[in-house]
Symmetry: C2
Subunit: 211 residues, 2 copies
């Protein structure tokens, strides 16, 4: 059985990663979605191993120390991270896994998991991104300014990625991501391994072909 | 306008390149198909510039000398080749072009056109390829033996290609090739150029984003 592929979907704040990922989940039920570990308390209805792996602060710090996380970050006093073993287990079962994550986290994952396929979700234009951030409405000017400057910096991280998908319409973005998943499975390197196995099974290709 | 992409579809004899390419032509009318130059005479209904570019032997030799062909070969006393200018013109118009070609020709194209995307059409298994070659029926045993040994050698050329597509069913093969075409357009390198243009048009990204 061939190993699955890790796909990382990322992009600047406000580009619509979550919405695209939800739509993709509906379209591609065969994809496994990475489950994060967190130190925050479960909310009503959240299930261990489905929504999150819930950890104590001590357990989480131990995971950091033992390199058991592909990346982690702290938000509002709680830790969030990507457990390496869940990703590894899924891939070794021959299933693809997708990880939706902020750009800084994605770059950390790339350092530990260079064979992953990194997809950058882009706004249709820089102006469009601006409109989306400003358009949320309720934030103060200071918050908007901060978000805009973060987004501008995040756009500059495109060169760390393998692919860029423009989020012009959710369905278009999803079908491009699906095409990338299909194409990655057609990459020659993945076949050389399988072909080699066939050759081995068949002893030598010439013997198979020449009766 | 961004430049088109050259896709080269190749694979061992008997794998079904022509059939897949015809089906693809039906599915993807926006793709331009490369037109070969030849020294053979036009048959009834064949049109200059549609089926072939018809050339005299002298004209063809001049094209070889002036490096006007991406590859060429001689079959049964006639020359066949891929004119570079038709490929270049199509790409510069922002259109993708696909070239269906034998494996030896594809490797020559790669030498002159490294930025092309090379797709290797594979039989579902080595045994299947054998059945297809033998199954044609009318050939002598010597011809079959020769074809089988050529096909075995051709399979070894997979490592020159970017992608491998298994021709298990024509529709599946076509949809994988279409996915590769979509994914190649999402490659990060192609976006860095476009993004750079946007940045230039907008002077500096920060100015756009920060009003």
């Amino acid at each position: 059985m061939s190993r699955g592929i890790l796909f990382v979907l990322s992009g600047p704040s406000g580009v619509g990663k979550g919405t695209v990922c939800s739509a993709l989940r509906g379209n591609s039920p065969e994809l496994v979605y990475s489950v994060s570990a967190t130190t925050r308390s479960p909310r009503d209805g959240e299930q261990e191993g489905v929504n999150y792996f819930f950890k104590s602060r001590e357990q989480f710090l131990h995971m950091i120390e033992t390199d058991a996380l592909l990346e982690h970050a702290e938000y509002v006093g709680n830790f969030y991270g990507t457990p390496r073993d869940f990703v590894e287990k899924t891939l070794s079962e021959g299933k693809d896994i997708i990880l939706e994550i902020e750009v800084q986290g994605a770059i950390k994952v790339r350092e530990k998991f260079a064979e992953g396929v990194f997809i950058f979700l882009m706004p249709p234009s820089l102006n469009e991104l601006k409109q989306r951030i400003v358009g949320r409405g309720t934030e103060t000017q200071a918050t908007i300014d901060h978000r805009l400057s973060v987004a501008a910096e995040e756009m500059n991280l495109l060169h760390h990625y393998d692919y860029a998908v423009v989020n012009d319409e959710i369905e278009h973005a999803c079908s491009r991501i699906s095409a990338i998943i299909t194409a990655e499975h057609c990459k020659r390197e993945r076949f050389l391994g399988e072909l080699f196995q066939q050759f081995e099974t068949a002893s030598v290709a010439d013997n198979v072909l020449k009766r």
